[in-house]
Every structure is written in structure tokens, then in C-alpha cells.
């Protein structure tokens, strides 16, 4: 079985490679033939009158679609590669995806070169304008804000000071190396070396993302390295342009240096400001998009992309602009757009960034084969050595400094991972490619490619076993929990209060002030409708509810209705350790119930049958979701009213309650059914009285969601009220099963 999969994958990839190669050669032949054709035609016309051609039933015109066709082929190749690596699990455990992709790129490049064609090089324009933004937007939009803001000082320190140190150290040392006679590099002057340093020293977000995503280290380290890779863009941009200008003029002036420092602030702060402006405009626009929900995701993408491009116009830091835009826009946009748009945004971003990332690595491989290389042993080897050395020294030095200010100190293990995670990538290559064409360029490019290969292959492959070896803390698999949210907020307020009592304005005080400002002024402008006054806890709760309801519906998947019934039988079968005797529903009863429920729900569905291309269907899935949520809420309320005290945070629970808890445990997981048990204490009279309450409940609980779902809510509620009654009786036999079921089962 596995062999078949492997062979299929290999065959398909070979097919694609061949296709790509062929498309290159075919079009060349076609061009020649067309030229011949034209010449012949013109000759004919010159000589004779119109030569009658028969109408071509089937013709071949490749030139017409050449560019999009080849682009699609390349993207398809990238996708098949990605698919292939996940189908063959053994390899992907050892080798990170990026390595494999570069390898494939090398192969493809080799094949293309072998056929005599010129393989395409990673065009810097293509890279910076089309391939990089999706990755950065994806990273910025989903940036975890809490760890980012908590560690912002350290991140900025690493990004700015660390990169500066790297640049000057590497540049200086390489200049020293170039002075060695044996290297024959005397023509490389100091400025060029500094320029080289500025290209090679920046940690690359694409590579970091690609490698770190697979090793799942703890949040702190991940955000430190990743945040650094994002924020060092400003430094890179400034230094790169600065040294390029200087190299052009062959001199460093003092005014130049001062201007450089000023330019740094302009570039970074300007970039952030551009991003913030676009973010606010985007958030404001999303306030009105309820009139046409289908185009909502496009606003998010376009505003962010425009932010990036606008920043690039002025040579400001496009990456920082993009990140700022995503971060600012996100909370407000998410409050405004529909759930479907949110999912669309999420998946499109993931999709584009995934494709981009794959294409970048493949192209890196191809460009390696393609480009002209000037291999100089000494230069290359020393570059690699100095990159490593400067990174280690920089990290150690900066950590020693930052640990004085940090509450959670960085240990030696952390420092090692941060240093080891400083991967270089495609940005360095593209920047190098933009250099003016001279002999030094090829030398630099070769060195850059070698460093990239070294970091991605050697460091990328060994980081996972090292993480295991050093027992670095992994990412906590934390399910989103309402408790955590409550406690986080509680803690925030508590710490703010204590700071106020202490009398000094610390970190928490300012954060609290910002939140209050946000709530009173900003949210009112940027969020539509009543959601603007919704406190964070409630929106979090609603989000969680929706998610859980969806999970419940999806786990019921194919036959949604019988789930209710089947859960009853499943539960009864599984009742171990339960003090009550279990009871099964007879088959005929099950069938009856199923029929009744299906009929009811079908009526609801038929009413929803309206179709318009530009409207989104309020389809069956959403019905089920809202139904599931109501159901869950009713369950919870019933359960809560039955037991009012819970001994929390305590070791000794009375033995009776212990048994109880075990049942609850089985009940509350979302993969199995959602059927609560009866309790020891309450009587079924409670159940019956609760049933009467149901009509009122749905109205109240649905108000937070009112402006989100479609028009048919009121009707649904009545039906669902009935169904809920039925479903609830079914799933809870109560302590006296016989009487309960017969009396309360009503269609």
C-alpha cells in the first residue's frame, strides 16, 4: 500500500517536471515554427493571391496562454511536492519540509539545465511583491498579541541591536579576511563588505516559520525568534540602502551616518504608521460590509496589501507596515465580519502563505542551479563561520543585558535555541540579487546561497533532535478555556489594582489605560452595532460556544439527527461504574423518534430554500450549529441548577460526589455524545418544570447573536423549542427511567 503511494507521488512529480521542461522547449519550437510560417505566408502573398486555407477544426495556440499556463504548472508542482511529503511520513520526520523543497528545486533546475534551457531565477520583483507579502500577512494577522507585547522589549533589542551587531561584525571580519593575500580578494573594499554584512545578517521570517512550525517549541522562544525576524526588516532596509549608496559613492561621511540613523527611525516608525492608517481604514470599512458579506475577506487582503505597497513606495519597511496593519485591523474586523468571512480570511491566508513558502524554497533551489557562481573557498567558509560566531556572541551578550530587566529570565538553553534558530533565507538571496551587476555580485551571491543552505539544511535538520536532547519546553497543548480567560482577566485587574495601591505606574497600569481608551473611544467608531459595547469576556464566550457547537455538529457529521438518539443507546451501553441500572431504548421506539425528528427538521429546511448568487446560504450547517448551541445551553442550565456548590481547588471531595464527577467527565467531552446523566438527588419533577421554561430561553440567549444570523431565526426557534423538548427528554432518562420516558415523550 505504501509502495503504491510512493510510486504514484514520484510518477506525478516526474510528469510535472517533464511538462515544465517541455513547455519551455515546445514554446521555443513553436516560436521558430511560427516565424517560418509567417515568412512563408508573406512570401506566398507576395507571389500569389490568397491561398485558401481550410477551416481548422483543431488548432494549437500555446503562446496565447503561455505565461499563466507555466505559472500554474509551477504552482501545481509546488503543491504536489507539499502533498507528497505529507503522504510519505518517514522522510518528513527527519528532514524539514524546506530542505526537501530546496532539494526538489535543485532537481528541477538540474533537469531544466540539462535540456539546454535557462532555468528561471527567483526574480526579486516577483519575490518582494508577490511571494513575500502573503507569508508576512499570515504571520502578522495571527500574531499572538499577549506574548508579543510582553516580550516586546527583548524582541526589539534582538531585532535592532542584534542585527546591527551582526552587520558590523560580519562586515568588519570579512574585510579583514579579504586582506589575506591568499584569498585574492583585495578588490573587495570595506563598504562592499559592510553591504554584504547587511544582506546576510538578518534572520529570515520565512525560514524561521518553516522550521519552527514543525518543532513546536514553547511560546516564549517561538515569539522571540519569530518576532525578531519580523522586526529586523527595518534595520535591514536602512542599512542595505545606506551601504548601497555609500558603496556607490565610495565614501562614508559623518552626515551620511547621521542621516542613516535618522532614516532608521523614519523607516521603522513610518512603516508602522502607514500600517496603522490602513488598519484603521480597513476596520472602519468593515463596519459597513454587512450589506455585502461575500466581499468582506477581500477588504482585509487588499488593505493589507496596499499597506505593504504604500510603504514600499517610500522605501519604508513594508514588513512592519504589513504587520501593523494586520494587528490593528484584526480585533475590529473580527467583531464585524461574519463567521464565514472569518473562516475565509483564515484559510485564504494559510493557503497563500503555504503556496508562497513552497514556491520560494523551490525557486531557491532552481536559482542555485541557474545563477552564475564565483566560488571562493576562503570567502565562503569564513562567511559561514562568522555568521555563526556573531550570532552566538550577539545572543549571549544581549541576553546578559536583557536579563537584568526581564522577570522571566532566559536560561542557557533558551539562549542556545535562539542562537541556533537564526536562520537565513530567501530575503537575503533576493537582496543580493538586487545588487548591481559586477564580479563581486556573483561572489556575494554564492556566499549567500551557501549560508542559506547551511542554515536551512544543517541547522534546520538538527534543531529538532537538539530540542529533544536539551528537553526544551514544548508548546503547551492548551485548549481554549473559559476559565483561563476569566482568570487572565481577573489577574490583569488584580495586578493593575496592586500597582495603583503601590503607587507606581507600571506595565499593567498603562495596558489597562489603553484598554479603557480602546473601549470608550475606538470601539465605538470601528465596530458596527451593539457589538461595540460587548465586553471581551462575553465575545470570548460566544466564540467558544460557536466553536464547540460546530465541533459537536461535525462529530455527528453524516447523519446529524440520529446522533441524538444513538447517543442514548451508546451511553446506555457504555455505562460503566454507574450506580444506576442502564436502560436501552427499544429499536422500534428509536425508529419512531428518528422519523419524527427528521420530519420536523425537514420542514425547517424547506423554508430556507432561497438562492441568490450574491447572498450566502443560511444553510443546513448553520441550522444545526445554532440548534446544537441551544441544546447545549439548555443542558448546562439544567445541570447547574441541580448542583449549586462545587468544591473546587480542594483535594477532598466527599465520596458521593466523586462518582458524580466521573460521569460528568465522560459527558463533557465533545467527541462523544452530549448526554448528561441523571443525578442522585433531583427528581424528575424538576425536569418537567424545566420543560415549560424552554420557550422563553431561546429568545434571551440568541440576542448576542441577533445581528449575525439570517432572517429566519424566529421561526427556527419555535421548531427548535419543540425539538429541544423532545431531545432533552430522550437524552435524560432521570432517576426513574420508566415513568419519565413514557410520560414526557411527546411528538
Amino acid at each position: 500500500m505504501k509502495h503504491i503511494r510512493v510510486t504514484i507521488v514520484i510518477l506525478v512529480t516526474c510528469l510535472f517536471i517533464i511538462l515544465i521542461v517541455l513547455s519551455g522547449t515546445v514554446c521555443r519550437h513553436l516560436r521558430e515554427r511560427r516565424h517560418q510560417h509567417l515568412n512563408r505566408d508573406s512570401n506566398h502573398q507576395a507571389n500569389s493571391t490568397a491561398h485558401k486555407k481550410t477551416f481548422p477544426v483543431l488548432s494549437f495556440n500555446y503562446e496565447h496562454v503561455r505565461t499563466p499556463f507555466e505559472i500554474s504548472l509551477w504552482i501545481l508542482l509546488a503543491l504536489f511536492m507539499k502533498l507528497g511529503f505529507h503522504i510519505i511520513p518517514t522522510v518528513s520526520h527527519i528532514v524539514p519540509e524546506s530542505c526537501l523543497l530546496i532539494f526538489v528545486g535543485l532537481l528541477v533546475g538540474g533537469i531544466i539545465k540539462a535540456t539546454g534551457e535557462q532555468p528561471p531565477i527567483l526574480d526579486s520583483n516577483l519575490f518582494f511583491l508577490y511571494l513575500l507579502p502573503p507569508i508576512i500577512l499570515d504571520a502578522g494577522y495571527f500574531l499572538p498579541m499577549r506574548p508579543f507585547t510582553e516580550n516586546i522589549g527583548t524582541i526589539l533589542m534582538f531585532a535592532m541591536v542584534g542585527t546591527l551587531w551582526n552587520v558590523f561584525f560580519i562586515g568588519g571580519m570579512m574585510y579583514a579576511v579579504c586582506q589575506i593575500d591568499a584569498a585574492k580578494l583585495a578588490h573587495v573594499d570595506l563598504l562592499s563588505c559592510l553591504l554584504f554584512g547587511s544582506i546576510i545578517s538578518a534572520v529570515d521570517p520565512v525560514s524561521v516559520l518553516a522550521v519552527f512550525e514543525e518543532i513546536h517549541i514553547n511560546e516564549l522562544l517561538h515569539i522571540l525568534v519569530f518576532g525578531e525576524s519580523l522586526l529586523n526588516d527595518a534595520v535591514t532596509v536602512v542599512l542595505y540602502h545606506l551601504f548601497k549608496e555609500f558603496a556607490h559613492e565610495q565614501a562614508i561621511t559623518v552626515t551620511g551616518a547621521v542621516l542613516g540613523v535618522i532614516s532608521f527611525f523614519v523607516v521603522s516608525l513610518g512603516g508602522v504608521m502607514v500600517g496603522v492608517i490602513y488598519g484603521i481604514v480597513g476596520a472602519f470599512t468593515s463596519r459597513f460590509t454587512s450589506y455585502s458579506r461575500v466581499i468582506e475577506p477581500l477588504f482585509v487582503f487588499l488593505y493589507s496589501y496596499m499597506a505593504y505597497l504604500s510603504a514600499e513606495i517610500f522605501h519604508l519597511s513594508g514588513i512592519m507596515s504589513l504587520i501593523a496593519c494586520g494587528v490593528i485591523m484584526r480585533p475590529y474586523v473580527e467583531a464585524n465580519i461574519s463567521h464565514k468571512s472569518y473562516t475565509t480570511v483564515k484559510y485564504f491566508l494559510k493557503m497563500w502563505s503555504s503556496v508562497s513558502d513552497t514556491l520560494i524554497f523551490i525557486f531557491l533551489g532552481v536559482s542555485t542551479v541557474a545563477g552564475p557562481h564565483t566560488w571562493n573557498w576562503i570567502f565562503v567558509i569564513f562567511t559561514v563561520i562568522f555568521c555563526l560566531v556573531s550570532r552566538v556572541l550577539g545572543v549571549i551578550g544581549l541576553t546578559a543585558f536583557m536579563n537584568k530587566f526581564r522577570i522571566v529570565k532566559l536560561t542557557k538553553k533558551d539562549q542556545f535555541i535562539i542562537a541556533y534558530g537564526g536562520l537565513r533565507g530567501a530575503i537575503a538571496f533576493s537582496l543580493g540579487f538586487l545588487l548591481n551587476n559586477n564580479e563581486i555580485k556573483n561572489l556575494f551571491l554564492t556566499a549567500i546561497i551557501t549560508v542559506i543552505f547551511f542554515t536551512v539544511f544543517v541547522q534546520g535538520m538538527t534543531i529538532r533532535p537538539l530540542v529533544e536532547l536539551l528537553a526544551v519546553k514544548k508548546k503547551k497543548e492548551s485548549k481554549e478555556s473559559i476559565n483561563e480567560e476569566i482568570h487572565t482577566q481577573f489577574l490583569d485587574h488584580l495586578l493593575t489594582g496592586i500597582e495603583d495601591i503601590c503607587g507606581h505606574y507600571g506595565h499593567h497600569h498603562w495596558k489597562d489605560k489603553l484598554n479603557r481608551f480602546n473601549k470608550t473611544y475606538v470601539k465605538r467608531w470601528l465596530i458596527a452595532g451593539e457589538r461595540s459595547t460587548e465586553p471581551q469576556l462575553i465575545s470570548f464566550y460566544n466564540k467558544m460556544e460557536l466553536k464547540q457547537a460546530m465541533m459537536m455538529v461535525e462529530s455527528g457529521s453524516a447523519a446529524k439527527l440520529p446522533t441524538i438518539v444513538s447517543t442514548v443507546s451508546i451511553r446506555n451501553v457504555q455505562a460503566k461504574g454507574s450506580p444506576k441500572p442502564s436502560r436501552a431504548i427499544s429499536k422500534s421506539r428509536e425508529e419512531e423518534i428518528r422519523r419524527v425528528l427528521r420530519a420536523n427538521l425537514q420542514n425547517t429546511r424547506q423554508r430556507l430554500r432561497s438562492y441568490s448568487r450574491y447572498e450566502l446560504l443560511n444553510d443546513a450547517l448553520e441550522d444545526d450549529i445554532s440548534e446544537a448551541r441551544f441544546r447545549k445551553q439548555k443542558e448546562m442550565e439544567r445541570r447547574m441548577s441541580h448542583y449549586l456548590t462545587v468544591p473546587a481547588n480542594r483535594q477532598e471531595t466527599p465520596p458521593v460526589r466523586k462518582v458524580f464527577f466521573q460521569q460528568e467527565h465522560k459527558v463533557y467531552t465533545y467527541d462523544d455524545s452530549e448526554s448528561p446523566r441523571g443525578r442522585a438527588s433531583p427528581s424528575c419533577a424538576d425536569d418537567v418544570s424545566e420543560l415549560k421554561e424552554t420557550p422563553e430561553k431561546p429568545d434571551q440567549s440568541s440576542t448576542p447573536r441577533a445581528n449575525r444570523d439570517a432572517e429566519l431565526k424566529p421561526k427556527e426557534q419555535d421548531d427548535q423549542g419543540d425539538q429541544l423538548k423532545v431531545s432533552r427528554c430522550l437524552s435524560d432518562p432521570g432517576p426513574n427511567p420508566e415513568d419519565d420516558e413514557d410520560s414526557t415523550f411527546l411528538p
Binding site: I407, S481, N483, C502, H504, H509, T533, Y541, T645, Q662
Partner: protein, 200 residues
């Protein structure tokens, strides 16, 4: 101003420093703040706390203030509430928020974590019976939402219920907070320098 004023009565400071782990300078700063809050009296009362303007926006203000007057937080195994506290109790309560010192053994770390958790628990457990009931938890959620203006009692109830059920389902109550790494989050930076004159 300066050096002379910052250390009156050093012997009592050394006692406190040993008990709570603050440095002399930090205790000096706290003493100044204490005197500022209490208008140079010997003890602090609840209305002194109510005078702090910044606290007015805090939704759980009442509970924070109560925590200062709760005997259970004084590390003397007492119970119940007091009406006024002296400087020593003030510093002891503050010491719950001290950052962990650089060299701590696992045991010490566990101890501080338990102390902080105990403090939080006492804040929730308002009727001093050692158990957090559903009503108390609901009260917490309502307080948190109280500043938002639109207090929907229904939603607050739902949230509290969901939270309680979560705890119940995990069935090892305080493990939930363990994941939190309380000892690194429940921390205030205590300054060695006196900045109280700059704010308030």
C-alpha cells in the same frame, strides 16, 4: 531628603525583609507609600483605599481591598477580617506579588506558587468557608463584567456555569491554575527608587 530619611528604624526593616524577601530599599519605598495612603497614621483602613483615584476604574476593586484586610493573607494562620492593618500586614500582603528571586530551587518555586494560588483562592472565597461555590464564582464573573455597562445577568450566569463545568470535568481543581505558571505571571515590579512623588 535622601539617604538619612530612607532608613529610620532599620532593625524592624531587617525583620520584615527576612520574612517577606523584600530588600531594604523596597521596604523603605513601601513605607513611604503606606504613610502617604494613611495620611501619616499608624494604620490603614478601607476608606484610605477608597481614596485612591486610579482604583475607581477597576471592576474588582472591592475584592482587592478586601484582600488586604483578610487575616488569611497575613501568613499567621488567622481567619476572618480585620478593620485596619499596620505596615507589617501591608508588606506581607504585597509580598505575594514579589518576583521570584534568581536562584530558586524547585521546592521554593513550588512554595511561592502555592502561596500565590492561596492568595487568589482567598480572594474568590468571600465567605471564608474554604470552598468556592458556584455563587461565589458567578459573583466573580459579574464583577468582571460590571464595568462594561451592559450587565446581562443571563450571560454572566452562563459564563460562570460553563467555567464551573469545565473545572468539574477536569476534576482536578487546581491543576487548571497550575498550567498558568502563576509564579511568573502574578508579579509586580517593586522599585528600589521612590517614585511615589511622581504619581498619584
Amino acid at each position: 531628603m535622601g539617604a538619612l530619611q530612607s532608613s529610620p528604624g532599620r532593625p524592624e526593616y531587617s525583620d520584615l525583609a527576612e520574612k517577606t524577601g523584600f530588600s531594604f530599599e523596597q521596604i523603605g519605598v513601601l513605607h513611604k507609600r503606606f504613610k502617604q495612603l494613611s495620611h501619616n497614621e499608624e494604620t490603614l483602613r478601607r476608606d484610605h483605599f477608597n481614596e485612591i483615584d486610579d482604583l475607581a476604574f477597576n471592576p474588582i476593586r472591592a475584592q482587592i481591598i478586601e484582600a488586604f484586610f483578610d487575616r488569611r493573607n497575613f501568613h499567621q494562620n488567622g481567619e476572618g477580617k480585620v478593620q485596619e492593618i499596620g505596615f507589617e500586614e501591608f508588606v506581607v500582603v504585597m509580598s505575594h506579588f514579589r518576583p521570584p528571586s534568581a536562584h530558586m530551587t524547585e521546592e521554593q518555586r513550588g512554595k511561592t506558587r502555592r502561596e500565590k494560588l492561596r492568595f487568589l483562592f482567598n480572594m474568590h472565597d468571600t465567605d471564608n468557608d474554604g470552598i468556592i461555590t458556584l455563587e461565589e464564582y458567578r459573583h466573580v464573573v459579574e464583577e468582571l463584567l460590571s464595568r462594561s455597562g451592559t450587565l446581562e445577568k443571563e450571560t454572566a450566569k452562563c459564563i460562570a456555569d460553563a467555567a464551573m463545568l469545565e473545572v468539574a470535568s477536569i476534576s482536578v481543581g487546581h491543576m487548571l491554575l497550575e498550567r498558568f505558571e502563576i509564579e511568573s505571571r502574578m508579579i509586580i515590579r517593586f522599585l528600589n527608587m521612590d517614585t511615589t512623588t511622581l504619581c498619584k
